[in-house]
């Protein structure tokens, strides 16, 4: 179901004014600093907040058309994972998760079965019979995720789903979300609020960046994260992304080259994928040098632009051998001086394979 929303809302001195589109089967990531209106946006979509003005449609249905029409939350087919877990304190964990299927008419046994399936997906099967008061923070968060997913909503709203999770749980849940949100038959629209660009990269087709209640940047995930146009996005993202096809040890480029890297667990060889690496991990050499060391990825390029970027200088490349086009590399000013870099200088880039991750890409 395609989500289309255009709305305005004032809360005290804060005002939200956004328009967005989430095509059927895709995920929109919402980034933005604290207090920029991300949760408020989700509240409006869920029907918990009533926009002062605006139209929200999901598929063929109009959910909100201010001021006359406001479909109630329970009638919207949404699932909201709010920023607080807010598990029902009087229900056991399994009944918390079974709540949505049960509300949608499943029998008690059916919905419990569904709930147990989701609980084992989030690795919380062992907690099924506990009360929420007996869970740790991260355990409660996992149960809340299961609860939001178990309803199989048409519109899924996730507010920082990976907060409070440990280093092992976070990638596991990210993988689960990827499986769920990107499964072939999936027709739902998803809006995902996150502070972590890796989540956006792993899960979202598109990104919008909010600031002060307004959209300051939007576009396909890769584009926004690799070429941020606002300082905020640049601080959280600014990654190098190179598209190609996944292979055992890295990424096969359209032109035939290979970028070595560490594949993330859910990459499938032969599928479209993307190599991700930070500008700070790109080493620059004079074009003549050909160091033969551990960095598996070396490529010739030409300096495009050099811009100061906090304490470092960010170099952007222009053309080069296939994948060197438009990459960023962070260097210290001393290195720039020593290598006598300036726009037009031919250079060679080196990136260690262990600094590159290969993520599945969303072909569109």
């Amino acid at each position: 179901m395609t989500l289309r929303a255009e709305m305005k809302l004032s809360r005290g001195s804060f005002s939200l004014s956004v328009a967005l589109d989430v095509p059927e089967g895709t995920v929109l990531a919402v980034l933005g600093p604290n207090g920029s209106g991300k949760s408020t946006l989700l509240g409006c979509l869920a029907g918990l907040l009533v926009p002062d003005d605006g139209v929200v449609t999901l598929g063929e249905r109009t959910l909100t058309r201010s001021p006359r029409l406001q479909v109630q939350p329970h009638d919207r087919g949404v699932g909201l994972l709010a920023q607080d877990a807010l598990l029902f304190p009087h229900l056991s964990v399994v009944d918390n998760v079974a709540f949505a299927p049960r509300s949608r008419g499943a029998s008690r046994a059916e919905s419990r079965a569904v709930a147990r399936r989701w609980l084992s997906e989030v690795d919380a099967a062992g907690l099924a019979d506990r009360r929420p008061a007996q869970l740790s923070g991260g355990q409660a968060q996992r149960v809340a995720i299961a609860r939001a997913l178990a309803g199989e909503p048409d519109l899924l709203l996730l507010d920082e789903p990976l907060a409070a999770l440990d280093v092992d749980a976070a990638p596991a849940i990210r993988g689960l979300l990827r499986r769920v949100l990107r499964s072939p038959g999936n027709r739902r629209a998803t809006v995902l609020v996150t502070h972590d660009p890796l989540d956006a990269l792993a899960l979202a087709d598109h990104v919008v960046v909010l600031d002060g209640g307004r959209v300051v940047e939007r576009g396909a995930t890769g584009e926004v994260l690799s070429a941020p146009r606002t300082p905020f996005t640049a601080r959280i993202a600014g990654l190098n992304l190179v598209a190609g096809t996944a292979e055992e040890q890295g990424l096969r480029l359209a032109g035939g080259g290979l970028i070595s890297g560490i594949p993330s667990p859910d990459v499938v060889a032969g599928e479209p994928a993307v190599a991700v690496f930070a500008p700070g991990s790109v080493a620059v050499y004079p074009a003549s040098e050909l160091p033969e060391g551990s960095p598996r990825n070396t490529v010739a390029a030409v300096v495009g632009a050099l811009e100061p970027h906090g304490p470092v200088v960010r170099l952007r490349t222009v053309d080069g051998d296939g994948w060197a086009e438009g990459l960023s590399a962070d260097l210290t000013p001393a290195a720039v001086a020593e290598l006598a870099l300036e726009p037009g200088t031919p250079i060679r880039l080196a990136v260690k394979a262990t600094a590159v991750t290969i993520q599945p890409a969303f072909g569109k």
Partner: protein, 254 residues
């Protein structure tokens, strides 16, 4: 610090009862307990008080939720209206019921003519009178608890697709259990002790409408001591019903 006023409050409540216990003529208790009139009254009191508590809960909980959760202006007025039976002197409350359901009352006339049903002087009338006076206790105490608790879990339930009735049944009521327990106890106690409205609306006939408080009054006319003894019976029954029969669930989470 808290113990001082709490102790005072407790003393105010307990000492008079202790005084009562001290003055009771215990020799008379067995005799009273075996008299047919007392037992009839006791049975009737229990049955009607339980029935009206059930009615209060069934009707009062939804009313409390509607009052606490609605945001419209009119609700402020409704809230005051619900309090009316609270301040009505019970006898006047009984009159009010007669005006409505009596033979010449608006609804009572209708019932009599259409269905041949007459309510006054029946056990049904006792239950109605008790429900009328006890309902506000349930509604008002629940409403206070509902507002204090807020509606965050109800909102969560709505985003999970639960319609209002499901939310009420599976979220509102379970979370309200401790307050509901208190409210039910209050209305049970009020129904059990109800006197003025019952005698005015339902009359006082042994086995049909003469509940224990009415019997106590009757006894008091003849002999204060036996009335006190009978009142003790009422107290014991109430405490047993409330302290023992109150389901553990109503005690709230540990």
């Amino acid at each position: 610090m808290l113990w001082i006023p709490a102790g005072l409050a407790l003393a105010l409540v307990v000492l008079p009862v202790v005084g009562l216990l001290a003055r009771t003529d215990y020799a008379r208790l067995p005799e009273l307990l075996t008299s047919g009139a007392s037992l009839n009254a006791l049975r009737l009191s229990l049955v009607t008080a339980v029935l009206s508590t059930v009615l209060c809960v069934l009707l009062g909980v939804p009313l409390a939720v509607v009052l606490a959760r609605s945001r419209s202006r009119g609700v402020r007025v409704l809230r005051a209206v619900v309090l009316l039976p609270l301040v009505l002197p019970p006898v006047v409350g009984g009159l009010a019921l007669l005006f409505l359901l009596g033979r010449n009352g608006f609804l009572g006339y209708l019932l009599d003519v259409t269905a041949g049903v007459r309510i006054p002087f029946t056990t049904t009338a006792v239950v109605i009178a008790q429900t009328f006076v006890a309902m506000p206790f349930l509604v008002v105490s629940l409403e206070g608890a509902l507002r204090g608790a807020g509606d965050r879990y109800e909102r969560v339930a709505a985003t999970l697709g639960a319609r209002p009735w499901t939310v009420f049944r599976r979220v509102t009521v379970p979370l309200l259990l401790p307050a509901l327990g208190s409210g039910a106890v209050l209305s049970f106690a009020r129904a059990l002790g109800e006197f003025g409205a019952t005698i005015t609306f339902a009359g006082s006939l042994e086995g049909v409408t003469r509940t224990l408080p009415l019997e106590v009054y009757n006894q008091a006319e003849a002999d204060v001591d036996s009335a006190v003894a009978l009142a003790l019976l009422l107290i014991v029954v109430a405490v047993v019903v409330i302290a023992v029969a109150r389901p553990r669930a109503l005690e709230g989470r540990p």
